[in-house]
Amino acid sequence: MPKAKFNILESTCVPLPFENVDTDQIIPARFLSATSREGFGENLFRDWRYDKEGNKNESFVLNDNKFEGEILVAGKNFGCGSSREHAVWAVTDFGFRAVVSSFFADIFRNNSLNNGLLPVIVPEDFLQKVLETVKNDPSAKLKIDLPNQEITLTSTGDSVKFDINSYKKECLLKGLDDIDYLLGLKEMITAYEFRNTLRQ
């Protein structure tokens, strides 16, 4: 089944300058009881956005009208903890298409790539520069160029290259689906099973 494509994204961003943001913060467990993929954005960072009584925490960045955009910029080790893909669904459902950090937890990164959310890994000093620039100027934009694997802070011209494996890059650029790819390997998988039975 075809997926959403990703090519070049230029957008303002939302800064979240904390480290080790775990998936329990991104989407708390009590909101995992749904059986579809939709609607999780409403509860993205629920316990940081609202207090115990359900009042908006006005100082939290997602409640601050100054900051908006399709790119989330977060401190290192973003997405650690639980494997819940609901965390990625919450981020995308809220309207983000890319997350920039100096370091991602493995499972979150895989889950992101499987949902067309681009995890962009940048050096720590570049990340700090982006966070600082955006804090002072919420209209500052980032340009993420997937074909050239390059991310640019457009107001300053600072730019770095980022890594992504060529298979996943191709999938994102063309909107290809992993499961379609694997279904195409059925004969090879069956042959593997047969060889394996013999080996045992």
Binding site: M1, P17, F18, E19, N20, D22, D24, Q25, P28, A29, R30, L32, S33, A34, T35, S36, R37, D47, K52, G75, K76, N77, C80, G81, S82, S83, R84, E85, H86, V88, F103, F104, A105, D106, I107, N110, N111, N114, N115, N165, S166, Y167, K168, D178, I179, Y181, L182, L183, L185, K186, M188, I189, Y192, E193, N196, Q200
Partner: protein, 467 residues
Amino acid sequence: MTPRTLFDKIWDSHVVRSIEGGPDVLYIDQHFIHEVTSPQAFEGLRARGIPVFRPAKTVATADHNIPTMDQDLPIRDLLSRNQIETLTRNCNEFGIEYFGLNHPKNGIVHVVGPELGYTLPGMTIVCGDSHTSTHGAFGTIAFGIGTSEVEMVLATQTILQPKPKSMKITVNGSLRKGVTAKDIILHIISKISSGGATGYFVEYCGNAITSMTMEGRMTICNMSIEMGARGGLIAPDMTTFGYLNRIPAVESRPDFKSLLLRWRSLKSDPEAHFDREMEFDACEIRPMITYGTNPGMGMAIDGTIPGAESITEGKASFLKSLEYMGFRPGQKLLGHPIDYIFVGSCTNGRIEDLRAFAAMVKGRKKSPNVTALIVPGSKRVEQQAIREGIDKVLAEAGFELRQPGCSSCLAMNEDKIPAGKYAVSTSNRNFEGRQGPGARTLLASPLTAAAAAIFGKITDPAELIKN
């Protein structure tokens, strides 16, 4: 031939195809599913109009959101009930073996898999749950995956996965009084940090590891993910084979002897290269407790929370974490009052954990200020505990044995710690709100939880252990 690690040997023998510049197509021997991370994967199969490719290689259990009292009654929370009913329906429709609520084999997926003999050395095992790393205790490559990947496995019995780097963690030496497997892994994580092993798959070695029971090894491997590792494994040995030999479903297999022969060869070659190696001295490890909001923020139970001046990186996150916990930099936690204890989870919900806890509280009384949640990891653990009279020992000391489930580890059910309350928990995560909105979690071993429950404050368990 180039010497290889055990991880390399298992991984390489499961590669169906390598993609140039991309991930490997990895064959999965055993797949576990539960109610929370599987419904969207089944929806995906329906949308594609395809069946489960190898239904016999997937096993399902209900564990994450189920109540741990009155399990014979309908689940009160409608969303949770719907999620369980959805799993039941999906398993029936797609022909998957299912251990639902009240089934004699029900329990936490990572407790059930090993105790029923689904987890066998040399396998690749995945589940939509990050603590799948638990199964590595048997010498398997086991790791948590997302729901899109659950769908891949259901559809093709394979998964696209980049091969992680390898790390060897050696722990030698004998354990001090009151120190358990949980303390060893909390110590390791406190040194490596909660993200320090990201991108790696760990092999645990050394005599402190090989002298452990399977239960202890599972506790160690379980928390590999808490330092960011993809997973962790331990080479199978006589302890592993002895454990498997006691499982009727394994021991009665016609190919058991030939399996044993093959399992004996599962070890890293002596000269195998690891991308990173670390060593720890078990004698230096004390009973551990965490003070912050990630599992890397741990210290010896009589230790002092680091001073703000000693934190060079991530100071804002450090201070935010302490503020949430209601602690100060430089504070000691010994003697700090606590409100709750939680004993259970895929980390410490096995029979050995309940035995250790019961031995500590036997003949003593729970502090009246403490509310205790004692939750067995599975129906089998619950039954075993009752057979051994553990429920009675607990009752005499003022504790109650609940019914199995993930319970307060992630508080999807009613077992929540109230906001602002301190809970000494044998689970695996002390994240903000993990055990309920505003709950303050201190991770520790079952022995430390027992000592805290008796005295109503953080106590070194070694003090309660008679010589």
